[in-house]
């Protein structure tokens, strides 16, 4: 047996023994997702057990170095772990912007002290992070941000406002873009980290069309941020910001993938429409729409695998995350349009128990943000056209 075969069989055995059965059931609501952090209250003992066991092995972040709380796995081993987890439909033990966004940026741009301090806490799910990027007047034109950071010797004094800060009211720390030089647009931005409990930080949830408030307005009023919390050089934060955005787009593109454990679109359609005597969905046009959607969804599954493999091998075009983000989010919006069509009037119920509090219609509306957050679809198409296809300006 090759080393990888050995790793696979050992991983399979470990997962079989250590992944609690409850953690192999499909995620039904936000409660089932483990985000970690100071305010984290496990929704079940199994959720806590699963997080602790995976964190102890470094497998919440399997490909990070062991020194920073990771598993130290190679790309091939990481892929095997993912495959083996998928095979038993194991839930992700820990979801976090620390893992998917800040972590990669710190690994590339952070000091050794920053890595040791922050990465280990991210890996164990101790600190939940939020992202301070967009501002009321800096959306697609992100580099036009105005939140100021005044040099006060050993610290910056931060004043301004962020918007669309996901889960700012639940987060412990923020990674934030601030302006340290007003004379240069991209060249006047710095990337800083600070505690959301700092004096002068306040958050206000924004009520969305889904009836939920996953995003906040975040206000900074004379917030003191020690300079040791700046990542990379002063006025070079845009480099960190773009690198992180690439990882954010990767994460969002994952929404285009079918969830592990059943296919809610197909199951939902069978439940409402029923199967005919020939075993086919009784509504032939809905069936055709779903089947053609599934072609793209499955092909995108292969694309995601290819993208990760190419990324790990350094073969992916640096702007390829824009393609993944564009395709994955448009796909996810399409999936929910079909789920609404398949659900009919059942899928319109907004807060009944039978609809689990309107889970489908609220998710349907939530997906509309997928092609806006992290850079709109139009911005991604601009990036693909210019950086990959090299079309003229």
């Amino acid at each position: 047996m090759s080393d990888l075969d050995t790793f696979r069989s050992e991983t399979r055995a470990w997962l079989a023994e250590n992944c609690p059965p409850e953690m192999r059931k499909p995620v039904r609501s936000e409660d089932d997702v483990c985000w970690g952090g100071r305010q984290f209250k496990p929704s079940s003992p199994a959720q806590k057990e699963w997080l602790d066991k995976m964190a102890a092995k470094g497998w919440t972040v399997p490909d990070w170095p062991k020194a920073y709380g990771g598993g130290g796995l190679s790309p091939a081993e990481t892929k095997i772990l993912r495959e083996e987890m998928a095979a038993i439909k194991a839930r992700n033990p820990l979801n976090s912007f620390g893992i998917s966004m800040l972590g990669p940026a710190l690994l590339k741009y952070g000091t050794e002290e920053q890595k040791l301090h922050h990465l280990t806490k991210i890996a164990r799910g101790e600190i939940r992070w939020c992202q301070g990027y967009s501002e009321p007047n800096a959306g697609s034109d992100l580099a036009g941000l105005a939140t100021s950071a005044e040099d006060k010797g050993d610290h910056y004094l931060v004043n301004g406002q962020k918007v669309w800060t996901s889960y700012a009211d639940k987060a412990d720390w923020i990674f934030c873009l601030v302006r340290t030089d007003k004379t240069s647009k991209q060249g006047g931005i710095s990337f800083v980290l600070f505690d959301m409990a700092s004096p002068g930080v306040s958050t206000k949830p924004i009520l969305l069309i889904s009836g939920n408030s996953p995003f906040c307005e975040t206000f900074f009023d004379n917030v003191e941020v020690p300079k040791v919390n700046r990542v990379y050089e002063e006025n070079k934060g845009w480099d960190v910001a773009k690198y992180l955005l690439g990882h954010e787009r990767e994460m969002i593109s994952g929404m285009g993938l079918a969830s592990s454990g059943g296919n809610p679109l197909i199951d939902g359609a069978i439940a409402t429409v029923g199967l005919g005597h020939d075993g086919r969905l009784a509504d032939p046009l809905l069936r055709a729409s779903i089947a053609l959607f599934e072609v793209r969804a499955k092909a995108f599954g292969a694309m995601s695998e290819r993208f990760i493999d190419e990324l790990k091998a350094g073969k992916a075009h640096p702007a390829q995350p824009s393609m993944m983000k564009y395709y994955g989010t448009e796909l996810n919006k399409g999936r929910y349009e079909l789920m609404m069509a398949a659900g009919g009037s059942d899928a319109l119920e907004w807060d009944s128990e039978r609809s689990r509090g309107g889970a489908i219609p609220r998710s349907w509306l939530r997906t509309k943000a997928n092609s806006i957050e992290g850079g709109t679809s139009e911005i991604q198409l601009n990036i693909i056209a210019k950086r990959i296809l090299e079309l003229p300006a």
């Binding site: 793209r296 694309m303 290819r306 198409l381 693909i384 079309l391 003229p392």
Partner: protein, 375 residues
């Protein structure tokens, strides 16, 4: 196994890319078309394929082939697609070889295929649309069988040395059992072939079998169990057609993006217009996803995975969708010149339509996936 070409496969791709671009560029196809060529491809070029070893790409080294897999065969087909090169590679070196592999027929036909002397055609389709049903009959007769019925959309059927025929030795049209696959030599009595010129100027035959008698040893595999070699043939053919479609779509896209960088209107390059940039970027995304789907199907076939069948249908449907978009955007973005016979982009549109139909179109494969998923 990572989902990208490994180093050996990349080297092979470079070799094949240069070879096909040099010996069979689009102008080669245009010349055959202009000459009203009756064969449908160049026998000389097929000999050159043999000299490069490509004809035996899927045949084991112990039988004189290269012993490579569907990923490598796909690398060849992508270049055939990109250059619109008329070639019996897909029907012969890919689909027929897979059908014959491991059967008693392999020994008889492989040497000729490897040598570039034998061309195979696939007599599968019976209606205008590809179906997973076989109605044509093969009755027992003396020491063998008597084949009666009609087949169509048989590429190279009028000129092939070997025709692989799916016929029914038992059961009814929709049954899985009762199909037998036959290797019929071209000179069989009672077999007539009418070659029809298709939209892309390739030739496909309508075959009539009027009591064509074949010996029992013409059977590929087992009598009544032809579904097994037929499925091998179809999986390989569909995957190969996907790879060729990928080449057609990529070739058309490259041509279109190249044109956007040179064509000026309103005093500026049309590629600077955001309305066109966004469409080009969307097209690129569709082609990238299609490329991933094709490689996934090829790798799973090479691994003998039980998930290969699904991946093959995804690949065939996805490449048909993406390449159809590519050729439509291609003609539209070229404007008036895209409508002229003199310019090559129209050839891409015509070839894409033929390949999209071959071995089942996007709807056929989407339906197949739905049935497999239980809806």
């Amino acid at each position: 196994m990572p989902l990208y070409l490994d180093d050996d496969q990349t080297v092979l791709q470079d070799t094949i890319r240069d070879f096909v671009a040099e010996h069979a560029p689009v102008s080669h196809m245009r010349a055959l078309r202009d000459a009203d060529d009756a064969t449908g491809f160049s026998r000389d070029l097929w000999k050159q394929f043999a000299e490069m070893g490509f004809t035996g790409i899927l045949i084991g080294e112990d039988q004189g082939g290269l012993g490579l897999g569907h990923v490598e065969a796909g690398v060849v087909l992508e270049e055939i697609g990109r250059n619109l090169s008329p070639s019996p590679f897909l029907s012969t070196a890919v689909a027929a070889v897979e059908a014959l592999k491991g059967t008693g027929q392999a020994e008889r036909w492989f040497p000729g295929i490897i040598a570039g002397e034998t061309v195979a055609a696939l007599a599968i389709d019976e209606g205008a649309k590809h179906r997973d049903t076989v109605a044509m009959t093969a009755e027992r007769s003396g020491n063998g069988f008597k084949l009666t019925g009609a087949k169509r959309f048989v590429t190279h059927g009028h000129t092939a040395d070997l025709i692989i025929v799916a016929a029914r030795t038992g059961g009814s049209a929709n049954d899985t059992d009762g199909i037998t696959l036959f290797a019929v030599p071209k000179d069989a009595a009672g077999l007539s072939a009418n070659a029809e010129r298709l939209a892309d100027s390739s030739l496909a035959a309508r075959l009539e079998f009027e009591g064509v008698e074949v010996d029992a040893d013409a059977v590929i595999g087992e009598v009544d169990a032809g579904r097994t070699p037929l499925d091998r043939l179809l999986r390989a053919g569909r995957t190969g057609a996907s790879a060729e479609l990928l080449g057609v779509g990529s070739g058309a896209m490259d041509m279109t993006i190249g044109y956007m960088k040179e064509r000026k209107q309103f005093g500026t390059l049309i590629g600077s217009f955001q309305a066109l940039q966004h469409r080009a970027a969307h097209l690129y995304s569709e082609m990238e996803v299609a490329r991933a789907a094709v490689l996934k199907a090829q790798q799973l076939l090479d691994q003998g995975s039980d998930r290969a069948d699904e991946a093959v249908s995804v690949a065939k449907a996805m490449t048909a969708l993406a390449t159809t978009l590519s050729v439509q955007e291609g003609v539209q973005m070229h404007g008036g010149i895209g409508m002229t016979d003199e310019y090559d982009i129209g050839f891409y549109m015509k070839r894409a339509r033929v390949l999209a139909e071959m071995f089942g179109d996007a709807n056929f494969h989407a339906d197949r996936l739905a049935v497999a998923a239980g809806y």
